[in-house]
């Protein structure tokens, strides 16, 4: 059963001088519980595709269905709420908030669910325990290594129990040892039933996932 379905997606970037076709007629489905890799050369549109799939950006044409719900009909406020409950994000450059402690960063998605302070803290501690960083709760991102930052980002992505995690080059800024640790975490999550869509340059890592989709020049080729 497809948990995500993208149909006829086009994305055009327009400036005053130039029009760029980032995605052209992309059709794609992601099955529930799948661990899907998206690959392609730089500028092929894979990150653009992931952003649209994650409802962070709007397609110029086409529809995105998540859990059979047509998200392209939703307004900003509805999209925010939908993302909060259904999706988790992991970025290449972690995107942690430097002025918040580790635990405050992890609690972020729950803040927008109006969860009580106790609920937020307990749940955040739980996921930090899971990623092995409960001893760093009060630290700030600037005090952590790259791998630790990415683990915090994974904890943040998990804290709301999302059905789907979207990861954009999660090991891109890490050395191979740390990259392997992160991938182990993601595999564990997938075994527990979380659907994961991951953009990666690394063929070796991609081959360990269940399916690979390839993009070239804004089009899906495989």
């Amino acid at each position: 059963m497809a948990i995500i379905s993208m149909q006829g997606i086009n994305k055009v970037y327009r400036t005053q001088e130039v029009e760029t076709l980032a995605l052209e007629n992309v059709n794609m489905e992601v099955e529930k519980g799948e661990f899907l890799s998206v690959m392609g050369p730089s500028g092929c549109g894979k990150s653009t595709m992931l952003n649209i799939m994650g409802l962070l950006d709007n397609p110029t044409n086409g529809s995105v269905f998540v859990n059979d719900i047509n998200t392209t009909q939703m307004n900003d406020s509805q999209l925010s709420e939908f993302r909060n409950h259904t999706l988790g994000f992991i970025f290449q450059s972690f995107h942690l908030i430097n002025s918040l402690s580790v635990i405050d960063n992890v609690e972020l998605p729950l803040l927008y669910r109006k969860a009580s302070a106790n609920e937020r803290t307990n749940r955040a501690k739980e996921v930090l325990e899971r990623v092995g960083l409960s001893h760093r709760m009060k630290h700030f991102p600037s005090q952590l290594s790259g791998g630790q930052c990415q683990r915090v980002a994974i904890a943040r992505a998990l804290v709301g129990n999302p059905q789907i995690i979207l990861a954009d080059e999660p090991t891109g800024n890490l050395d191979s040892r740390m990259g392997n640790e992160i991938m182990d975490l993601l595999f564990k999550l997938n075994e527990e039933g979380t659907t994961i869509v991951m953009v990666t340059h690394d063929e070796h890592i991609a081959k360990t996932t269940k399916r690979i989709v390839r993009f070239f020049d804004g089009r899906r080729v495989e």
Binding site: G54, S77, S80, F89, H95, I97, S99, D104, L111
Partner: protein, 415 residues
């Protein structure tokens, strides 16, 4: 949620000390200028002991009488003459009470029989009703009353300062003091009054009728209304007395300038013209608008650059479910904390400015002091708080709204 925003604001202030200092100082200076204006108005207008009835008191200071003869346009104007007051104004019905006070241009000389000491002091001549309008703090005795005034009895009320000079630590009530070599009995001693209180400052108070030649004196009429709602009716009654005068004196026209409320009477310094009562509020409003807008525009460009630096954070928050209004509230709340810190510093700076520049701002001598109640006042604090909110909205609201329009992906790309 707000606890986390508060923690984050403090963390950001610590992380960017120079920028935080500039931002807070900018706000502090803006609030300082605004609060100097507000507090000067407040000090000049608020009900404050002993002038506890300012808000329901009208003041009539000047008059002008003109001949109707177009060939011989003689006219007189000036302070309110005693005779005019007595005949036409002292019995008006609408107010709760009325009083006339005069202030001797020269100081009075005080001497005590049997001593060689003499002291000069300022003298206020008034009536028994005065003590119902101005609420002095009597530390000894009591004031002279209307019956004393009507009988022209030589009774006096002195201030604490004068009592100490004349009698040291002994009680002054019942004792005799020579005022310009005429013996007066002291009926009461009041606490010293700050020069900021125009209609109650003075060292010595005597019944107007006790002074030789009092019928040729002139002064200011104080009109205590039962409530502010009666102001219009009182003004109409004063207009009616003008018409009554003109009916009795057909060769002349008479204009009383006023009566004016406490704020407007300050502008009534020229006996030849009436005061435009809307002028002062408009002037103050214009000054306040400028004082809000100029720093707000400067701070808004500063806020804009600060918010742009946080575009990535805004993108992250939106990605994880924050709605636009949630982020707007966060940005305004964080900026409000900075504004309140700046506001507190600005308030302290405004106290310093008022104390340092009191002669220029409040027009009274250096040796005077401003009552503490002028500074510690709910009105003042409310104005500071509202000023911080307005400045916050003007300086951070618009930049925040503009940044919120940015697409999440664009926001995340900015570092």
């Amino acid at each position: 949620m707000f606890k986390i925003y508060f923690k984050q604001t403090l963390a950001m202030l610590k992380q960017n000390r120079l920028i935080s200092t500039v931002s807070i100082l900018g706000t502090a200076l803006a609030i300082m200028m605004i609060m100097v204006i507000i507090m000067v108005q407040h000090i000049n207008e608020m009900d404050m002991a002993p002038e506890v009835n300012r808000s329901r008191t009208l003041y009539l200071k000047n008059y002008q009488q003109k001949s109707r003869d177009t060939l011989n346009r003689e006219w007189t104007s000036g302070d309110l003459p005693y005779e005019l007051y007595k005949q036409y104004l002292s019995e008006i019905k609408v107010p709760e009470t009325v009083s006339l006070i005069t202030r001797e241009q020269e100081n009075a000389i005080l001497t005590i029989e049997g001593t060689n000491n003499s002291y000069t002091c300022s003298q206020t001549k008034t009536d028994g009703n005065y003590w119902k309008i101005i609420s002095f703090d009597f530390i000894e005795g009591k004031p002279f009353d209307q019956a004393d005034y009507q009988s022209g009895l030589k009774k006096a009320v002195i201030t604490e300062k004068i009592a100490k000079k004349l009698f040291g630590t002994s009680a002054a009530t019942g004792k005799t003091v020579n005022v310009n070599y005429v013996p007066y009995t002291i009926t009461g001693v009041v606490k010293d009054v700050s020069p900021v209180f125009t209609f109650s400052q003075g060292d010595l108070f005597v019944p107007l009728t006790s002074v030789y030649g009092y019928k040729n004196s002139w002064g200011v009429m104080l009109i205590l209304a039962k409530s502010k709602a009666d102001f219009q009716a009182i003004k109409q009654e004063v207009r009616a007395t003008e018409r009554r005068y003109e009916a009795n004196n057909p060769k002349y026209t008479l204009n009383f300038w006023g009566p004016y409320d406490h704020r407007t009477q300050k502008d009534n310094i020229d006996s030849g013209t009436a005061v435009d009562e809307s002028k002062a509020p408009k002037r103050i409003l214009l000054i306040l608008v400028i004082l809000f807008l100029v720093p707000a525009i400067n701070l808004s460009s500063f806020s804009m650059s600060q918010i742009k630096k946080r575009s990535e954070e805004i993108g992250i928050r939106k990605a994880f479910g924050a709605k636009k209004y949630t982020i707007l509230i966060q940005v305004l709340y964080e900026n409000l904390i900075t504004s309140l810190i700046g506001g507190f510093i600005g308030l302290l700076l405004s106290y310093g400015a008022i104390i340092w520049l009191r002669e220029w701002l409040l027009d009274f001598p250096d040796e005077g002091s401003i009552p503490a109640g002028a500074f510690i006042s709910p009105v003042v604090f409310l104005f500071v708080f509202l000023s911080c909110i307005v400045l916050n909205l003007l300086s951070a609201g618009i930049p925040a709204l503009r940044t919120l329009r940015m697409n999440i992906v664009e926001s995340l790309k900015r570092k």
